[in-house]
């Protein structure tokens, strides 16, 4: 009798704590998850852009998921410059061929990977983009070359619906 009682208490104590912990977790998770993107935000996941009016050497900026997307029609020199860079020189090595499937068109998020500012076109030491916030320089392929940003500007999922229309997302 005397050694049976504590065991029963221990069991009840552990079981109650366990149920309490599961219950607390079940309440905490909805409270945390409600802050994640909601259904209406997720519904705006793709955008179609008509690029027929963009001339070589020009960039248009469109808004996708609240972020600017750069669509640049690159000149021959820019493509050549981007493709002739050796991988060893890059901070975040990526081939231009992988970033721009169609070499004439560079599509990427116009968001500096440092702290999220919008870099300026045709600026910086590498003829690509320059971020005015903390001084990151990007090349004609949108790759980081100098400054505090850790990665190249991100290439989103996109496809050419037809010759003149790009679908982002």
């Amino acid at each position: 009798m005397s050694d049976k009682k504590p065991k029963r208490r221990e069991f009840l104590f552990t079981a109650t704590t366990a149920v309490g912990a599961v219950g607390a977790a079940a309440v905490v998770w909805p409270m945390v998850d409600q802050m994640n993107p909601d259904a209406s935000v997720k519904a705006l996941a793709s955008t179609e852009v008509d690029v027929s009016s963009v001339k070589p050497g020009n960039t248009i900026t469109v808004l996708w998921r609240g972020k600017p997307v750069f669509i640049r029609r690159r000149t021959k020199e820019e493509i050549e410059e981007a493709r002739s860079v050796k991988m060893e020189e890059l901070i975040h090595p990526e081939k231009d061929e992988d970033r721009a499937k169609n070499p004439e068109w560079l599509v990427m998020l116009g968001v500096c990977t440092h702290l999220g500012c919008v870099p300026l076109n045709d600026k910086g030491d590498y003829n690509g983009w320059f971020c005015p916030c903390h001084g990151s320089h990007y090349d004609t392929s949108g790759r980081i070359r100098k400054g505090p940003a850790p990665w190249n500007m991100e290439v989103p999922k996109y496809e050419f619906v037809n010759a003149n229309t790009i679908k982002i997302g």
Binding site: V32, M35, N36, P37, D38, V41, T61, L63, R65, G66, K67, P68, H114, L115, G116, C117, V118, C131, P132, C133, H134, G135, G147, P148, A149, P150
Partner: protein, 420 residues
């Protein structure tokens, strides 16, 4: 504390106090023995309480007219400025009040650093203060986002992106903070909620801060332990109340100067342009009170390490009671520390200045040297100084240097007590 045996005079008072000892508390606060040599640097605790109450009252009234929605926030702030009766006044008090709050808190913190108020037995008061300071920064940052101008939007973008520096989970955390894929309406509504909540958290912590203060009692310019109550103390009321009140009046003149004569000088013109996610302003700078930390962030060329350095610069303060190894509190008796103290003040001011300048060339170099020195001060100079420094003899009481004999006598007694 000597007020345990306090008994209200009236029968009703006694009846009430036996059930809820509020009158005992009031008596403790008025009679609270305070060192009689407290100078004007000690009046900033009261000034800070005033700042907090001002922010809460003006904030509540602004919230009656403000609309936390990405499409309407900017306009509702202009509506407050132009249409709401005295809206301009309330908003200018609130906006400049944030700066005044930080001005006062920096003086309060540097007062502690000079007189060693963070040392044993006041470590908990100090750490509570650091938590309050962190919450103040969070509240100020989120409040700055609410008008939904260009600086609001891009400030929010840059600061929330600091979290993306965390390896692996960083991007997920940022998306979670935003409630979307960029700073947008869900971000604004949650910032408004938290901006409303934090001042009340601060209020609660201020109560703990004062409670913890009332256990050992105030430090003082001489930095010695004193007997309470004694010849070295005066009751809080009326002595300190009058002194605090006078200092507060002087402070309010400065406050009013900003509100009425240069209400926008501490802000940025870009914030009168509505938020535009397509264009970043050419020159992003935070509010003046965050500039030193911003300079530290930018002086490190690596993203993650920059964020780590910036956070460490603040959190290192919490470890200060243990980094400072000197037994002597007040810099008055620490000739070397006194010099390093002023170098640190200059260092922080320099960091603030370069934080406002573009991060390139000479500015960047200065920022790097100043950042290195900031950490050197806390991690090397302070711990070593405690062992190496020859401190001056401290008096036995506050009254002694004025009334009791020559400093030599004091020195002799000090030496004596050390031998024991």
């Amino acid at each position: 504390m000597s007020d345990h045996d306090y008994k209200p005079k009236s029968k009703v008072g006694q009846w009430f106090n036996d059930r809820l000892p509020l009158l005992t508390l009031a008596n403790h606060l008025t009679d609270y023995p305070t060192p009689k040599n407290l100078n004007y640097w000690w009046t900033f605790g009261g000034i800070l309480t005033f700042c907090l109450i001002t922010q809460i009252i003006t904030g509540l009234t602004l919230a009656m007219h403000y609309i936390a929605h990405a499409d309407m926030a900017f306009e509702s702030v202009e509506h407050i400025m132009r249409d709401v009766n005295y809206g301009w006044l309330i908003r200018y008090i609130h906006a400049n009040g944030a700066s005044m709050f930080f001005l006062a808190v920096y003086i309060h913190i540097f007062r502690s650093l000079f007189y060693g108020s963070y040392k044993s037995p006041r470590e908990i008061i100090w750490i509570l203060g650091i938590i309050i300071y962190l919450l103040m920064m969070a509240a100020a940052f989120m409040g700055y986002v609410l008008p939904w101008g260009q600086m609001s939007f891009w400030g929010a973008t840059v600061i929330t992106n600091l979290f993306s520096a965390i390896p692996f989970v960083g991007e997920g955390i940022v998306t979670w903070l935003w409630g979307g894929y960029s700073v947008d309406n869900p971000t604004l509504t949650r910032f408004f909620t938290l901006h409303y909540l934090i001042p009340f958290l601060i209020l609660g912590l201020v109560v703990l801060h004062i409670w913890a203060l009332h256990v050992p009692g105030n430090n003082n310019p001489v930095g010695i332990d004193i007997k309470k109550p004694s010849k070295d103390t005066v009751p809080f009321h009326p002595y300190i109340v009058i002194k605090d009140g006078f200092a507060l009046l002087m402070f309010m003149i400065v406050f009013a100067f900003f509100v009425f004569y240069t209400p926008n000088i501490l802000g940025h013109a870009d914030n009168y342009i509505e938020a535009n996610p397509m264009v970043t302003p050419a020159h992003i700078v935070p509010e003046w009170y965050l500039l030193p930390f911003y300079a530290i962030l930018r002086s490190v060329p690596d993203k993650l390490l920059g964020v780590v350095a910036m956070l460490s610069a603040i959190l290192i303060l919490a470890a200060l009671p243990w980094l400072d190894t000197s037994k002597i509190r007040s810099a008055v008796f620490r000739p070397l520390y006194k010099q390093f103290y002023w170098i640190l003040v200059a260092d922080v001011l320099i960091l603030g200045y370069v934080g406002a300048m573009p991060a390139e060339g000479l500015y960047l170099l200065i920022a790097r040297v100043a950042t290195a020195y900031y950490f050197l001060h806390f991690l090397v100079i302070l711990p070593v100084l405690g062992f190496k420094e020859r401190t001056l003899p401290i008096p036995l009481s506050i009254t002694e240097p004025i009334l009791g004999g020559s400093p030599n006598l004091a020195a002799a007694r000090h030496g004596e007590s050390k031998i024991k």
